[in-house]
Subunit: 307 residues, 2 copies
Amino acid sequence: MEKFEVTILGSGSALPTIYKRPTSQLIHYSNKYYLVDCGEGTQVQLRKAKISFLKINHIFISHLHGDHYFGLVGLISSMHLLGRVGDLNIHAPKEIEEIINVQLRASYTQLRFKINYTFLESKESELVMEDKNMQVFTIPLKHKILTNGFFFKEKPILRKVKAEKLKFYEVPHYEIQKIKEGADFVKPDGEVIANSVFTFPPEESRSYAFCSDTAFREKIIPIIENVTVLYHETTFLNKEIALAKKTFHSTAQQAGKIAKQAKAVKLLIGHFSARYEEKHHKEFINEVQLEFDNVQITKELNTYEVN
Amino acid sequence: MEKFEVTILGSGSALPTIYKRPTSQLIHYSNKYYLVDCGEGTQVQLRKAKISFLKINHIFISHLHGDHYFGLVGLISSMHLLGRVGDLNIHAPKEIEEIINVQLRASYTQLRFKINYTFLESKESELVMEDKNMQVFTIPLKHKILTNGFFFKEKPILRKVKAEKLKFYEVPHYEIQKIKEGADFVKPDGEVIANSVFTFPPEESRSYAFCSDTAFREKIIPIIENVTVLYHETTFLNKEIALAKKTFHSTAQQAGKIAKQAKAVKLLIGHFSARYEEKHHKEFINEVQLEFDNVQITKELNTYEVN
């Protein structure tokens, strides 16, 4: 099974503190790295996590509140100073291009690499990236400004073949890919051998959903249904539910409801308001568990498997 | 004597590392705070130094390379979230206004406070700020793009009066300020009593010069002459003098030459290229001391007196 995991680079909310950095997460699948959000200080967190900046080819920005992107132009500048030449792909609201360009112009910086932008404008979920193993869909969220979560969906995994059966039925090499994808085998004499003779069932394909920042929004359920690991913001505890509504954020219990309805395997939470301290963590867990059991509070620089 | 000191928030160069933050310094005079440069992560350093963001009313930006200002928009956003209402004064190259505005627009943020900009465009030294105790002059530097250092000059300090002499000569209250400023006293009968009868000589007024980033530039000497504490960048050691010239930076020995020629009392150095490590520090000191003895390497979150 390919490695599929997420490293939390920053899990705080709008106001950076000594203890919590603003939002950023690194999704790692096999040998690929995808960055989601890039708050101030993300570069240093990447260094602490020992991730080369040059391995990141896709950056997804949920929305243009500073705590989700103020570290981006610094990261781009560092990539330039480190000699990057390969294209960088940025998936973000359209204003990001001018924000980056106005700052590059001010320093007369001509990047040695190309930035390909995908502007996120739709109010419907859309496929914004696809490579050999992964599809990434937007999750339109409900926040003060245009905001998307991101759904990382592993492509269907191939069946594992039984080498001795392939040999016994003299399956030609060029047929094997189709068999891994689930096809039966037709012998030269026309006899059909069922796929199940040659293969073991595949592992279930896995998925990761990033949902921050957002008010409680059940509309996202069909997009993230059966998600393996869901990260859902929990800016507030229930006693601040009015403030959560007003500021378009979620409470811990609301995140639990989303996880339950989406039939998630596991829920990760974070983006706590700066008013909360370590001593409140148990309350966050308790409130989520009114709805959903398998929950964990994200810790910066910790890595969580998507299994 | 009023407190006059500088706290180093970041002393690294272009590439942030785990150990060195990009440039930022906080000058503290009496009850006033002035911020010079604001690299990414300055907010967190201010928090570590336990400085309230709201106490900072003047920010000076030397130039628009990212390692000197990428933390500014985040600091402004946090000031907004923390409820600032008092004006903020920013002294910087003119492009800074659009850089800030394009980011505030993207998040539909309407600041509750006003930003007064002083655009730094002149190639000559100019007075850019003056308050009760302090004057700040630009120090035009030599770098790839328009860059200014800043010269913080304490205003002439008043003479200390001898209370018993004031009483003896029955000096009226409204004459005392003039005597502190150095005037003689004329008695009602016309007799002139020399100022020295009433006062002790004042302390010498102090100054702090910030010079980063810059190539070796002797033209700055007349501006900073007799400076109390000079901070001068030393991006490179002498063996990289060609690279220093090419990138418009200085070597350790060159900084020593400037300190010597300016008759500085003390030299602080920093902004070392990321290629150098702790083990090179002794070499930086040695090279400076070929020219100038009283030198110290700046350490982040350390505070240095300007005395």
